[in-house]
């Protein structure tokens, strides 16, 4: 069998596993009929999830775009439900994206600062070592009290969770850059800034790739964590709100949506970084 045919064969296996999981869930929903509250099954079958549960998402539509909200007396509709999911997803994704950007930039800058000079090392090392030992989840209530439930606080929380991982990854990756490349750049006349730009940054990329993927997972976790605590929008808000009424099917639907988003973001980042690593041996690109 050629390797191409093998890849196609592997895909069929993955697809089969996926179909099996879907089927098992459906069987479970038929066999296990316990309810969390009257009319609210613990395990909702697909026929429920894609009709009643999806429709119920219109409850979270705040109105606008000519589509009235349920709170204003309008009936549930698929349009309102779709708009609602899109709106809350967007809120979450914007918080995540800004948090990733801020946390990644700050984490990387501080990580590079550790090796820049003895002064910057002294300046950065102790506070960041202290910060990274603080458990992220223990900081949730603190952030809530500091920033309330506003947008900036949620973004900062994500940035913090991401920044710590990127910082640790960067410090480690920089220390692994072979001295020969730095010596070579110096001997060819590169300034310190040029060395960081043309040697250190590209050289740490293969190692930073795993840190970035790791921080993406942490970012998704952090943005949900931030939204659980009193946000008025976003997917985390929908889950917490549904939990208060024991709407297990709604929680499950949002969780599914979440799986889709995280998968897409992982594969997007993975492809992007693989393209940036065109120069590296294949083992460092997969």
């Amino acid at each position: 069998m050629t390797s191409n045919a093998r890849i196609v064969g592997d895909r069929w296996v993955s697809l089969g596993v996926f179909a099996a999981i879907v089927a098992i869930w459906q069987i479970l929903s038929i066999v296990y009929t316990a309810e969390a509250a009257p009319g609210e099954p613990m395990v909702a079958g697909w026929q429920v999830l894609f009709t009643k549960t999806f429709l119920s998402m219109s409850d979270y539509w705040p109105g606008g775009l000519g589509v009235p909200s349920v709170a204003e007396g309008a009936p549930r509709s698929y349009l309102a439900a779709a708009l609602s999911l899109a709106d809350h997803s967007l809120q979450t994704i914007v918080r995540l994206a800004l948090g990733l950007l801020a946390g990644g930039t700050i984490g990387l800058t501080l990580g590079l600062a550790v090796s820049w000079s003895r002064w910057t090392r002294r300046l950065v090392d102790l506070p960041t070592q202290f910060l990274r030992t603080l458990p992220l989840l223990a900081m949730v209530p603190l952030f809530q009290l500091w920033f309330g439930t506003n947008f900036i606080g949620e973004v900062l929380f994500v940035a913090y969770g991401v920044g710590v991982i990127v910082f640790a990854g960067a410090v480690n990756a920089v220390s692994n850059v072979p001295q020969i490349y730095i010596d070579n750049a110096r001997a060819l006349g590169a300034t310190r800034f040029a060395i960081y730009k043309t040697v250190i940054l590209p050289a740490i990329l293969p190692e930073m790739r795993s840190s970035v993927l790791l921080s993406l997972g942490a970012g998704w976790g952090a943005v949900l964590g931030a939204e659980y605590l009193g946000a008025q929008s976003g997917l985390g808000f929908v889950i917490v709100y549904a939990q208060q009424f024991a709407y297990l099917d709604r929680m499950f639907l949002v969780a599914l949506l979440f799986v889709v988003y995280t998968s897409i973001s992982y594969s997007a980042v993975s492809r992007l970084t693989a393209r940036m690593l065109e120069w590296a041996p294949p083992s460092q690109r997969n």
């Binding site: 072979p178 070579n184 060819l188 006349g189 990329l205 120069w279």
Partner: protein
């Protein structure tokens, strides 16, 4: 010697370098070394491994500071690395994240040379080292010998008047090594206008030193123990190494390396 040639291109005066070992003891890697090298000379540093020749080269390159003494290159005290001195390292130093041509023009780019000009220079030297066809290749696609050619093209393109090579061909097979010696000598000979560049070539291969050098300096335990001119005409062939004067120098070098006692071992064996 023409008047415009600097007769004291490289000057070391009582240079020493000591290291502190993990157990606290101080080791003198280089101890009171002095010499003068005129511009355009091809000098080989020879010595057993650990004799301090690489340390000396690093001090000349400005990558390491001497503990004592002065290092002067081109009438300026060496205080750090500079583009007036090029280094070809023992290990592969070609940046894997840059295409071959970008590697060759790296130094020129660092100094702000215009894009078209530096590309032209880089192409010229890639041609000189026989690699015009791989300018867009990634270094991972090249063999060890080709990477060394890229490294040589890079230091020549950078324009330094003093080139230092630290056992550059040590890890290569015999055929590739011979080819690269020719590449280096051709560049040294034909390249540039006017005077040749000054070359310091570190090696532990006596034959390599004899076929390349104008002058061989021998180091042992951080001390310069001999300084031998090699006056045999160029181009040198395999036969040049058999000339009586060459054989005499080779004997001297082998004696310095502690290899002379091997002669006669077989006869003494039972």
């Amino acid at each position: 010697m023409p008047a415009n040639v600097n007769s004291r291109m490289i000057e070391l005066a009582h240079v020493g370098r000591s290291f502190r070992r993990a157990d606290g003891a101080t080791v003198n890697a280089i101890d009171d070394v002095s010499f003068v090298i005129p511009e355009g000379q091809f000098v080989c540093f020879v010595g057993a491994s650990g004799c301090g020749k690489s340390t000396l080269l690093q001090m000349l390159a400005g990558l390491l500071e001497p503990s004592q003494g002065d290092v002067v290159v081109g009438d300026k005290a060496v205080t750090g690395p500079g583009p007036d001195r090029g280094v070809v390292f023992q290990k592969d130093s070609v940046f894997p994240w840059m295409r071959v041509i970008d590697n060759v023009e790296y130094g020129l780019k660092c100094r702000g040379a215009p894009a078209a000009e530096r590309r032209e220079i880089a192409r010229t030297y890639l041609r000189h080292v026989g690699l015009p066809h791989v300018e867009r290749a990634w270094p991972r696609e090249l063999s060890g010998g080709m990477l060394k050619r890229v490294a040589i093209a890079t230091v020549f393109a950078n324009g330094g008047r003093v080139l230092m090579l630290d056992e550059p061909f040590g890890a290569l097979d015999y055929v590739t090594r011979r080819q690269l010696q020719d590449v280096l000598l051709n560049l040294w000979n034909a390249d540039g206008v006017g005077t040749r560049r000054t070359v310091i070539f570190v090696t532990h291969d006596v034959d390599e030193a004899l076929s390349l050098a104008d002058r061989v300096m021998v180091f042992r335990a951080g001390v310069k123990v001999d300084d031998i001119p090699v006056a045999v005409a160029r181009p040198r062939t395999t036969d040049s190494l058999l000339l009586p004067e060459m054989v005499e120098i080779k004997r001297t070098l082998l004696r310095h390396l502690g290899l002379d006692h091997r002669v006669g071992v077989d006869e003494a064996a039972p």
